[in-house]
């Protein structure tokens, strides 16, 4: 269920062909009513279905945030397990396409604060497929955030069945000198930074969190204990970003392993401007990651 997922083929072409393959009873175009899209997803889950709904972008999730946070996330708890919400909410996140302030945001970090929700933020086709399979089997409400600029990315997926559990990060690049923690599109920015560091003789370990709730604390800590230096990179505004949660956890649990304060690189605290140069300046890039490491660790 979602806006323009059927006849239009999906705003980002994700569901192109679905209508022909699955028919109009299973692929339902809705009016522009996000609150009911999510709420009807919750309600039909309460009545025994296993729905997948789409919010065209995470920006529009704000119109449905009551249904996500107050209803989807809490009904199992408030009913003492009598009712469950096996619901997947697919949505598109992120900026960088010059869509301006109200169409360029990433709120996965807000939803990752909510007990009762799970949040996935895949960065590659392999991870997206594996996590989505896990999401469909999960009996909990899941926000599945796909980055708008990653839809064009190609990647190998095996023919054999596989799934990726939530709460399992992926080390995209191994290294001993510094840990870069990232998720979603920032994983690729982190890998660019790692390539630049290699030219300077430093090997970075890039950890892609893949899910924010739950998130894989152990993999991150293990890496930090090895490298003693860490930067957390995130696209959304630095203030209140999930990088704060990660940084705080690292310094609480691996304080003695740190050679300096945990570095954080996040979106600048501005609404996204339309102008391309300014927009790019507000989003983390590899230069800023390099600078943060230099500032905090002198490397």
């Amino acid at each position: 269920m979602g806006e323009d997922i059927g006849a239009y083929g999906g705003a980002y072409a994700v569901t192109r062909g679905f209508l022909d393959e699955f028919g109009p009873e299973r692929i339902m175009d809705t009016p522009i009513s996000e609150s009911v899209i999510v709420g009807a997803g919750v309600g039909s889950a309460l009545a025994g279905l296993r729905p997948i709904v789409e919010l065209m972008t995470i920006n529009f999730s704000l119109v449905a945030i009551d249904q996500i946070v107050n209803h989807a996330a809490k009904l199992r708890y408030m009913s003492d397990g009598q009712f469950s919400v096996p619901l997947v909410i697919r949505t598109v996140t992120g900026g960088g396409g010059q869509l301006a302030a109200t169409h360029s945001q990433s709120f996965e970090n807000w939803y990752a604060s909510v007990p009762g929700l799970k949040v996935a933020v895949p960065a590659t086709p392999y991870d997206a497929l594996g996590l989505f399979r896990a999401a469909m089997k999960d009996d909990n409400p899941i926000l599945f955030a796909e980055h708008s600029l990653l839809y064009g990315m190609r990647g190998e997926v095996p023919d054999e069945w596989y799934e990726i559990p939530f709460g399992q990060a992926d080390i995209k690049r191994k290294g001993n000198d510094v840990t870069i923690v990232a998720y979603s599109r920032m994983t690729h920015v982190a890998l660019q930074a790692a390539a630049m560091l290699e030219e300077k003789g430093r090997q970075a370990e890039v950890i892609d969190l893949r899910t924010l709730r739950p998130w894989d604390k152990e993999t991150v800590l293990e890496s930090v204990r090895k490298t003693n230096r860490v930067v957390v990179v995130e696209e959304t505004w630095k203030t209140g970003g999930f990088s704060g949660e990660i940084a705080s956890t690292i310094q609480e649990e691996a304080f003695d392993d740190l050679d300096g304060p945990v570095a954080r690189v996040g979106g600048l605290d501005v609404p996204a401007p339309y102008n391309g140069t300014l927009e790019a300046a507000a989003i983390p890039n590899s230069e800023r990651i390099i600078k943060a490491l230099s500032d905090n660790y002198g490397i």
Binding site: Y77, S79, G81, D138
Partner: protein
């Protein structure tokens, strides 16, 4: 109805004694709506309602003990103390809540209706809400989509003429709420919500319409709450005279008079019913008192469903 009335009155007393905490929204005066309407439903139909939900829960058949214990926050409550007054649930009776967000359950009810159509199983959902719920945007999204998709939803609007303290005329541009539903292409009617027989008849019409595959139905029941919005309400926004006028229309008194005058019951029988429900409610208070609280280990239970 008598059970609902006595339950609410005793619950109010327990609230004043500090046994019930948080918010308590009493259904006193509106009993005919829940009782009359739920009578028209089948066992497999779903019921959802707003936070003034004790009446609907009891009318649906939830155990008096379990409801009182839930209000007391005890582990023997229908939601083991995790939901409280505004979040009563009982899956075995298809009572799908008790919701605190005004109009928040309307989209859920749309989804339930969708599921029943999808499964083709002839069930419907009866969803109760107040006049205030129609202030919310999502209520209108719901009316639109339910009509558009021909969903098996019986909308029961309990119009008690006030939001918290705002009178209907100051919050709705069209105070004939069922007419508003009509504008979405939904069959609708208005009924005297103080007359339990009229409510039941109107609800039966609604259920018949919906179960025959004609799409949703909107029933506006005009009623009145004799107490404030909640226990915290000093009720400064309406006059005692107005309340007195509406008390003359007490649904229980009306029905009692009708039973007596039509010889369907004797005064003795009515007294026996009164005594019986008083006893049930007293017992439920004792039950709630003696029940244990949930333990600290219960805090994290059911935040998530465990993976199979």
């Amino acid at each position: 109805m008598a059970l609902l009335r006595v339950f609410e009155e005793r619950a109010a007393e327990q609230y004043m004694l500090g046994k019930i905490r948080g918010f308590l929204h009493l259904y006193i005066g509106q009993e005919a709506v829940a009782v009359g309407a739920i009578h028209a439903l089948g066992r497999d139909d779903y019921v959802t309602t707003h936070y003034r939900d004790h009446g609907h829960a009891l009318a649906r058949g939830l155990s008096v003990n379990a409801v009182m214990a839930e209000l007391f926050g005890k582990a023997t409550g229908c939601s083991k103390g995790m939901g409280g007054s505004m979040h009563l649930f009982d899956a075995s009776l298809n009572f799908a809540g008790g919701y605190a967000i005004v109009a928040g359950h309307l989209p859920l009810s749309t989804g339930m209706g969708f599921a029943f159509n999808y499964l083709n199983d002839n069930r419907l959902v009866a969803t109760f809400f107040g006049d205030g719920a129609l202030n919310e945007g999502e209520a209108h999204e719901v009316l639109n989509m339910s009509a558009l998709w021909n969903l098996p939803v019986v909308f029961i609007c309990e119009n008690n003429l006030y939001g918290m303290g705002i009178p209907l005329s100051q919050s709705m541009s069209n105070t004939q709420l069922h007419k508003m539903a009509e504008s979405y292409g939904i069959a609708s009617a208005q009924v005297d919500g103080m007359d339990v027989l009229a409510v039941r008849e109107a609800a039966e019409t609604a259920v018949q319409h919906v179960r025959s595959g004609n799409g949703p139905y909107f029933l506006e029941a005009r009623t009145y709450r004799f107490r404030g919005h909640s226990m915290a309400d000093p009720v400064l926004y309406r006059s005692k005279d107005e309340e007195a006028e509406y008390r003359k229309l007490d649904p229980i008194a009306q029905y009692g008079e009708w039973l007596l005058s039509s010889k369907m019951a004797t005064q003795k029988k009515l007294d026996a019913i009164s005594a019986e429900v008083e006893k049930q409610v007293e017992e439920s208070i004792a039950f709630a008192e003696e029940s244990p609280f949930p333990s600290p280990e219960d805090l994290y239970r059911n935040v998530y469903a465990q993976l199979p």
